[in-house]
C-alpha cells in the first residue's frame, strides 16, 4: 500500500513536468542561391514582394515569411519547423555589375514543398534567369 501511495505522489509530481518543454520549434534556414548558367553567385538578390506569387509559406499553417535579401548568394531566416513552398522572382546583381531578373520555382507547390524540420537546415535554390 505504501509503495502504491509513493507511485501516486510521483505521478502527481509528473504533472509539473511538461512534455517537450525544451523542444526547439524553429529551424534556422540557410538559403544558398545558384543561378543557372552563371559561374559565380550574385552579389545580391532581392525578391520582388509586390508579386503575389512570391512566397515562403508553411503549407500547413499557411503562415508567410518575408524572403530576406541574399548577400553573396546566401540568406538566413528563422521559421517554424514544417513544410514550405519557396517561390519568387528577384532582381540579382552580379560581381561584374550586370543585373538579371531571376526566378526560384523549385518548391512552387505543396507537393514540391521542402521539409524544414531540423534545428538547422540548408536549402539550395537553383534560380533561372528570366532576362
Amino acid at each position: 500500500m505504501r509503495r502504491l501511495f509513493i507511485i501516486l505522489v510521483f505521478a502527481l509530481l509528473a504533472t509539473g513536468c511538461e512534455k517537450n518543454s525544451g523542444q526547439n520549434l524553429e529551424c534556422l534556414v540557410t538559403l544558398n542561391a545558384v543561378v543557372q548558367g552563371q559561374s559565380s553567385a550574385p552579389v545580391s538578390i532581392v525578391a520582388d514582394r509586390t508579386l503575389s506569387g512570391t512566397m515562403f509559406r508553411n503549407i500547413n499553417t499557411l503562415d508567410n515569411y518575408n524572403i530576406p535579401a541574399f548577400s553573396n548568394g546566401t540568406a538566413q531566416l528563422q521559421v517554424l519547423k514544417g513544410l514550405y513552398m519557396i517561390t519568387f522572382d528577384a532582381d540579382a546583381v552580379f560581381a561584374d555589375g550586370t543585373e538579371h531578373r531571376v526566378r526560384a520555382a523549385q518548391y512552387n507547390s505543396p507537393e514540391k514543398s521542402v521539409r524544414l524540420v531540423d534545428d538547422n537546415c540548408t536549402v539550395t535554390l537553383y534560380l533561372t534567369v528570366l532576362q
Binding site: 501516486l8 505521478a11 509539473g16 511538461e18 518543454s21 520549434l25 503549407i59 500547413n60 499553417t61 513544410l83
Partner: protein, 504 residues
C-alpha cells in the same frame, strides 16, 4: 430507448426491496449542507461503503432552461432547453458490501452555439472545429454507471466500477455537424483499515473516448461559412479550412487515473485525498487516410483535506481543495500528400495552458428539533495561463471569489422542505493578452471579447429549494433551482432547473 428502459428496470429491481424505515430521515439528512458530497469527494469506489445517508433509490425527471444576454463563451451556446431523466440507487448489501448504479437520459437543444462544431468542448479545446455561423444544436445523451465495493477479511476492501456515456449532437441547417461520441471508464480500487477509525484506499482507472464528427453543407446557394480547425488563441490550421474535404474528423482519446483516499468510518473526522489523471486525445482527418494532426495531453492533479463534526445541535466542517490542470497541445507537420508518409510525422508542442486553483469552503450548522440552519462561507482563487509558442500568443486571467450560502431545512411530519441562497462575487483583475499577428481579424476580435469577459468582475446568485412529501415507503419530491450571473455593463445570464421525482 427500449434498451435503456430494460437496463433501468434491472437496476431498480433490487432497490425496491430495500428497507424503508429510515426513508424520511435520509431525505431530510441529505438536504443538510454538511452531508453534501462535496464535503467528502469520492475519489475511490470504496467510499460508497461509508455513505450512511445517501442510500436509497431516486427516480426523477427534470427540465433545464438557460439564457444568456451578450454571451461570450458561445461555444456552449447562449441558451438551453433540455429535458432529463435520471435514476440512481445505492444499496448496502449487509454490513460488508455496497452497490451503486445509475442511468440518465437527456434530450434537448443548445441554442446559438457559435465558434464550435465539436461536442465536449471543455474536454477537447483548443483543438476543436469551429465556424462563424453556428446555430441551435440538438443534443441527446445516454449515460450509465455502476459501482461495487466489499470487504475481504477484517481489514481489506476492494471496489470495481464502470461507466459509459453516449452523446449525439447535430444540427439540421447549414453548417450541419453530426457528432457521435462514446466515452467508457473503468476502475478498480483496494483499501485497508488504518488505525481504528479510518480506511486508506487507492484506485486506478482507465478511460477510452471516441468522437466521430462530420460537418455537412447542403444549401444549394452554397456554404455560408467555412469550418476552421482551431489550434488555440485565435490560431487555426489554415490548410484544412473549408467546407468539404476536411470536415470529417475523428477524436480518439485514452487515459488513466490514480487516486488515494483516507476517510473515516463515520461522518466525524478527517478525510484527505489526492488524484491524478492523464488523458490524451488525437484528432484525425477521418476521410483523409485517418491522418493525425493534433494531439492534446491533459493532466489533472487534485488534492483535498476536509473534516466534519456532527454534534447534537451544532455541527461544523471545512474542505480545502487544490487543483492543477496542465494542457499541452501538439501539432503535426502533415505531409503534402496525405496518402503516404504519415508514419514519419514530426510533432511540435505549441499550446500550453496552466490552470491552478484553490478553494476553501466551511459549513456551520445548527439543529433545533425539526429545523436546521446552516451557513457556508466560501473563498477561492483560480488562474489560467495559456500560451501559444512561436506565434507568441498569450492569455492570462485570474479570478478571486468570495461568498456565502445560507440554508434552512425543515421537517414537519411527512413534509421535508429546504431552501438555500447563495451569493458569490468574483474579482477578476486585468490579466495579459497577446494574440498572434497572423490571426484573422474576426478571430482576433472574438478572442479580445473572451479576454474582456474574463477580466470583468462577476456577481453570481443562486436559489435552490426542495420539497418532499413522505407517503410511507415512498416520498415524492420537487427541486426547483435558479442561478443568475452578471458581469460588466450588460452581461447577464440566467439558468433554471426543476426536478420532480420519487425516492424510496
Amino acid at each position: 430507448m427500449k434498451k435503456f428502459l430494460t437496463i433501468l428496470a434491472v437496476m431498480l429491481a433490487p432497490a425496491l426491496s430495500y428497507g424503508q424505515d429510515s426513508l424520511a430521515l435520509r431525505v431530510a439528512e441529505r438536504q443538510k449542507p454538511l452531508m453534501a458530497r462535496e464535503f467528502s469527494p469520492q475519489y475511490t469506489d470504496i467510499s460508497i461503503l461509508y455513505t450512511p445517508w445517501l442510500t436509497g433509490t431516486t427516480v426523477q425527471a427534470g427540465y433545464n432552461w438557460a439564457k444568456e444576454k451578450n454571451a461570450v463563451m458561445t461555444q456552449n451556446g447562449d441558451g438551453l432547453s433540455l429535458g432529463e431523466f435520471r435514476a440512481s440507487s445505492l444499496k448496502k448489501l449487509g454490513d460488508r458490501a455496497a452497490a451503486e448504479g445509475g442511468v440518465s437520459y437527456q434530450r434537448g437543444v443548445k441554442r446559438n452555439v457559435l465558434w464550435n462544431s465539436t461536442s465536449d468542448f471543455e474536454l477537447l479545446y483548443p483543438y476543436i472545429m469551429a465556424d462563424t455561423v453556428g446555430g441551435n444544436l440538438q443534443k441527446e445523451q445516454y449515460a450509465f454507471y455502476g459501482r461495487y465495493a466489499a470487504g475481504i477479511g477484517s481489514d481489506w476492501k476492494y471496489g470495481l466500477s464502470g461507466s459509459y456515456r453516449a452523446l449525439h449532437e447535430y444540427r439540421q441547417t447549414d453548417p450541419r455537424p453530426r457528432n457521435i461520441t462514446s466515452d467508457l471508464s473503468v476502475g478498480a480500487s483496494a483499501g485497508r483499515q488504518v488505525g481504528s477509525g479510518h480506511v486508506l484506499s487507492i484506485q486506478a482507472g482507465y478511460r477510452r473516448y471516441h468522437q466521430l464528427q462530420a460537418v455537412a453543407f447542403m444549401s444549394p446557394r452554397g456554404a455560408n461559412t467555412a469550418e476552421f480547425h482551431m489550434t488555440g488563441l485565435a490560431s487555426d490550421y489554415g490548410r484544412f479550412t473549408g467546407t468539404g474535404d476536411f470536415t470529417n474528423l475523428r477524436y480518439r482519446g485514452s487515459g488513466f487515473s490514480l487516486a488515494a483516499l483516507l476517510q473515516p468510518h463515520g461522518l466525524n473526522g478527517l478525510s484527505a485525498g489526492i488524484s491524478y489523471k492523464s488523458f490524451k486525445t488525437v484528432r484525425h482527418l477521418a476521410n483523409q487516410n485517418e491522418v493525425p494532426y493534433t494531439e492534446l495531453l491533459s493532466q489533472n492533479a487534485d488534492a483535498f483535506a476536509s473534516f466534519r463534526h456532527k454534534g447534537e445541535t451544532f455541527s461544523y466542517g471545512a474542505i480545502l481543495k487544490l487543483a492543477y490542470e496542465l494542457r499541452l497541445g501538439s501539432e503535426a507537420v502533415v505531409p503534402a500528400i496525405l496518402s503516404s508518409g504519415i508514419d514519419d510525422i514530426p510533432w511540435l508542442t505549441r499550446y500550453r495552458n496552466r490552470m491552478p486553483s484553490a478553494s476553501l469552503r466551511g459549513v456551520l450548522q445548527w439543529q433545533n428539533g425539526g429545523s436546521t440552519w446552516a451557513l457556508e462561507p466560501y473563498a477561492g482563487a483560480e488562474m489560467s495561463a495559456a500560451l501559444r509558442k512561436v506565434d507568441e500568443g498569450k492569455m492570462t486571467v485570474y479570478g478571486y471569489t468570495g461568498g456565502c450560502s445560507a440554508s434552512y431545512v425543515a421537517v414537519r411530519g411527512r413534509l421535508t422542505a429546504s431552501i438555500r441562497l447563495t451569493g458569490l462575487y468574483t474579482f477578476r483583475p486585468e490579466g495579459k493578452v497577446l494574440l498572434p499577428a497572423s490571426a484573422e481579424p474576426f478571430m482576433f476580435s472574438r478572442y479580445i471579447d473572451i479576454y474582456s469577459f474574463f477580466t470583468e468582475n462577476l456577481v453570481q446568485g443562486g436559489l435552490q429549494a426542495f420539497v418532499s412529501w413522505s407517503l410511507g415507503n415512498l416520498s415524492v419530491f420537487m427541486r426547483p433551482e435558479l442561478n443568475l450571473r452578471m458581469w460588466g455593463d450588460d452581461g447577464r445570464a440566467a439558468a433554471a432547473r426543476i426536478d420532480i421525482g420519487i425516492e424510496f
